[in-house]
C-alpha cells in the first residue's frame, strides 16, 4: 500500500475508533489514536496474517501489550475481515465479546491482555517457539511508554537478547503520557534507547505517524542479525483530533456529541487533503 493509501486508511480508522468509543461511552481514546498508524502499517504492510487462514502456523504474530487501546486493534481487525464491523456496535456492552481489553473470544486476537507488562514476555516465548520449530514467522508486540517501568519488561528484554531473538520486534508507542501525567514526571525511563541497547537490542527511532519511516523501519527487521529489534515510535497521544492531542484527560475520555462532530469534521478536512 502506498503512503497515501495508508494515510487515507488511517483517517478511516480514526473515524471508526471515535465512532465506537462515542457510541459505547467507554474506551481509551488517546492511546488508540497514537498507535493507529503503527497498527495500520503492521496489518497493511508488514504482517502476513490472513483472516481466511488465521490458524496458519506460519503467520506472523502480533501481541498488543498495551491492551487498553483495544479499539484501535478491533477497528483494524474488522477492516481486515476478521469479523463484521457491525459487531463493534456492541463494544464494551453487556455480554459482548468486544470488551474493553483484547480477548481471544474475538477472532484475530492472539492473546488476552489488559494488565500491563505481560506482552513482551509473551512475545519472547512465541519467538522462542518459532526458533524451536525453525519457522520464519516474526513476532511483533506494542508497548506503551508508561508501561515500561513494569519490571517484567526488563526481565523479558534480557531473555530476548539472551536467546538472540532476531525474529522479535517490540514497538514502543512513545506518546509521552500515561494516566497520572507525563511519563517523564511519573517514572522517567529515558534514555530508553540506551537502556535497550545496553540490554543487547538493536534500536531505531521513527516518527510513529510517518508511514514512510514506519515502513522503512519494519522492512529493515532484524536491524541486526542475532539481536531483537526495538522500534521507538514517537507519537502524539490523541493524534488527529487537535483538541485531544497531548491532553492527559483524553487517556480514556469520551467525546460529547459536539466534540464528536468537531472531530469528524477535522478528519474530513484531513481526508480531503489526501484526495
Amino acid at each position: 500500500m502506498s503512503e497515501k493509501e495508508l494515510a487515507r486508511k488511517s483517517v478511516e480508522y480514526r473515524r471508526k475508533i471515535l465512532k465506537y468509543i462515542y457510541q459505547a461511552k467507554a474506551g481509551h481514546t488517546g492511546g488508540s489514536l497514537s498507535c493507529i498508524d503503527i497498527l495500520n502499517v503492521l496489518y497493511n504492510h508488514v504482517l502476513n496474517v490472513d483472516s481466511a487462514d488465521f490458524s496458519s502456523p506460519d503467520r506472523d504474530r502480533y501481541i498488543q501489550s498495551k491492551g487498553h487501546t483495544v479499539e484501535a486493534l478491533y477497528v483494524v481487525l474488522a477492516s481486515k475481515g476478521f469479523f463484521p464491523e457491525s459487531d463493534l456496535e456492541t463494544l464494551c456492552t453487556y455480554q459482548s465479546h468486544y470488551i474493553g481489553h483484547p480477548t481471544r473470544k474475538v477472532r484475530g486476537v492472539e492473546q488476552n491482555t489488559g494488565a500491563l507488562g505481560h506482552g513482551l514476555s509473551l512475545s519472547v516465548g512465541t519467538a522462542i517457539a518459532g526458533k524451536l520449530d525453525k519457522k520464519d514467522y516474526r513476532v511483533f508486540t506494542l508497548l506503551g511508554d508508561g508501561e515500561l517501568p513494569e519490571g517484567s519488561n526488563w526481565e523479558a528484554a534480557l531473555s530476548a537478547a539472551h536467546y538472540k531473538l532476531d525474529n522479535l520486534c517490540a514497538i514502543i508507542d512513545k506518546n509521552s503520557l500515561q494516566i497520572s501525567g507525563a511519563t517523564s514526571d511519573v517514572c522517567n525511563t529515558d534514555p530508553v534507547d540506551a537502556k535497550f541497547e545496553a540490554f543487547g537490542w538493536a534500536v531505531r527511532h521513527v516518527d510513529g505517524h510517518d508511514f514512510e519511516q514506519l515502513k522503512a523501519a519494519f522492512d529493515a527487521i532484524p536491524f541486526e542479525k542475532g539481536k531483537p529489534s526495538l522500534v521507538i515510535a514517537h507519537t502524539i497521544k490523541g493524534k488527529g483530533v487537535s483538541y485531544m492531542e497531548s491532553q492527559l484527560k483524553w487517556h480514556h475520555g469520551v467525546p460529547s456529541e459536539e466534540q464528536y462532530s468537531d472531530a469528524l469534521q477535522e478528519l474530513g478536512v484531513a481526508e480531503e487533503s489526501l484526495a
Binding site: 459482548s96 470488551i99 481489553h101 494488565a115 494516566i179 497520572s180 517514572c187
Partner: protein, 317 residues
C-alpha cells in the same frame, strides 16, 4: 427491620481518599504510594497537602510493594494503592515475602475490586483477592460497606501495627452508616437483629442485604443482618452467637465463592456449630464488561438473590 435510609450515593474509593486526606493532616508518618492511578484512588487532596509524602511508582506494582516494605524499615506507615487485581495477584510474592512473612506495617489499599468496575471487563475484575490475602498468615483483611465506613477504616488502620489489605470499589452506592463512626477492626457490625436466618454480608453486598431484609420482612421472615467488614480476623463470636439463634446462614460477597467470606464462615460452622449455609457469590468464574447492575444481576449478587438464598437456607434447617 431496622430502617436504613440514605440521602446520597458515593463511591467507597472516595471514602478512602477522604480518609487519606485526614491522615495526611494527623499522622506525619503516613506515606502514600501509587502506580499511575492517582485519580482512580482519589489521592489528589493528600498529594496536594503532602507532596513530599507521596511516592509515584509509575506502572511498577511489584516495585511499589517492595518499596513500601522498605519504608517501614525507616519507620514510615506506607499506604500502597492501585486497582485490586494489581495490588494482590500481580504482586503476591512481594506481599508474601516482604510484607506478610516479614510482618511489615504496610497498608495495601485496593480500589476497583470485584465485578462492579464495569466496562473494563475481566482483566480488571478480580474476584480472588480476599482469598489470596486472607491466606497470608498475619494479614488483616477489611472490606467496608460504604463511603463513611471506608473512610473510618482507612483512618483506623493507620493506628494498627501490622500488614492490612483494605478493599473498596468504584461504583456509587448508598451512604447509610454514620459519618462519625469508630471503626473497630475485627468487630462485626450488627445491622439488624432477627431470628429466622443470619445474613453475613461484606462490602457492596451489605446494602443489598439490607434491601433483602426488607423484602424478607414483607414475607414474614425476620432476618438478622451482620456486616462482616473484617474478613480476617473474623469475628467468630458474633457469627456463632447469631447462628445459635437463627440456625441457618447466608453469606454474601462480591467475590468468588471459593476462598472468600463464605468459606471463612463455613469453617467456623464446621468446627463449632453445624448449620445450613447458602452462598451468594460469583460461581467460580471470571467477569466481563457491563454496567454494575447488569453484572450483579447476571452473576447473582442482588438483594433478590439474597432473598432466594435465605429461603433455601431456612428450608434446609
Amino acid at each position: 427491620m431496622k430502617k436504613y435510609t440514605f440521602t446520597e450515593k458515593k463511591d467507597t474509593r472516595s471514602g478512602f481518599g477522604a480518609g487519606m486526606h485526614e491522615l495526611g493532616q494527623q499522622n506525619p508518618n503516613v506515606v502514600a504510594l501509587c502506580a499511575d492511578l492517582v485519580g482512580s484512588l482519589k489521592l489528589e487532596p493528600f498529594i496536594k497537602e503532602n507532596p513530599d509524602r507521596f511516592i509515584q511508582c509509575g506502572i511498577s506494582e511489584a516495585n511499589m510493594i517492595g518499596l513500601s516494605a522498605g519504608l517501614t524499615i525507616g519507620g514510615k506507615i506506607p499506604f500502597a494503592t492501585t486497582f485490586a487485581n494489581f495490588a494482590t495477584g500481580r504482586v503476591y510474592d512481594q506481599i508474601r515475602q516482604s510484607v506478610a512473612y516479614s510482618n511489615k506495617n504496610v497498608k495495601i489499599c485496593a480500589s476497583h475490586a470485584g465485578l462492579t468496575l464495569g466496562e473494563d471487563g475481566a482483566t480488571h475484575q478480580i474476584l480472588e483477592d480476599l482469598g489470596m490475602m486472607k491466606m497470608l498468615p498475619g494479614m488483616t483483611v477489611i472490606n467496608p460497606c460504604d463511603y463513611n465506613q471506608t473512610k473510618a477504616a482507612t483512618i483506623a488502620i493507620a493506628d494498627y501495627e501490622g500488614p492490612v489489605y483494605l478493599r473498596f470499589g468504584r461504583p456509587v452506592i448508598p451512604v447509610f452508616t454514620d459519618a462519625d463512626q469508630k471503626f473497630e477492626i475485627g468487630k462485626a457490625w450488627m445491622v439488624n437483629e432477627g431470628t429466622d436466618v443470619s445474613i453475613f454480608a461484606t462490602g457492596h453486598m451489605v446494602w443489598e442485604a439490607i434491601q433483602a431484609g426488607e423484602m424478607l420482612e414483607a414475607e414474614g421472615i425476620n432476618a438478622e443482618i451482620i456486616n462482616i467488614h473484617t474478613i480476617k480476623p473474623l469475628d467468630e463470636e458474633a457469627i456463632l452467637k447469631s447462628v445459635e439463634k437463627t440456625g441457618c446462614v447466608v453469606s454474601a460477597e462480591e467475590h468468588n465463592r471459593i476462598g472468600g467470606l463464605g468459606d471463612s464462615i463455613a469453617q467456623v460452622l464446621v468446627k463449632h456449630k453445624l448449620a445450613p449455609q447458602e452462598y451468594v457469590a460469583v460461581d467460580d468464574s471470571f467477569g466481563e464488561s457491563g454496567t454494575p447492575a447488569q453484572l450483579l444481576e447476571k452473576y447473582g449478587l442482588t438483594a433478590k438473590h439474597i432473598v432466594e438464598a435465605a429461603k433455601r437456607a431456612i428450608a434446609r434447617k
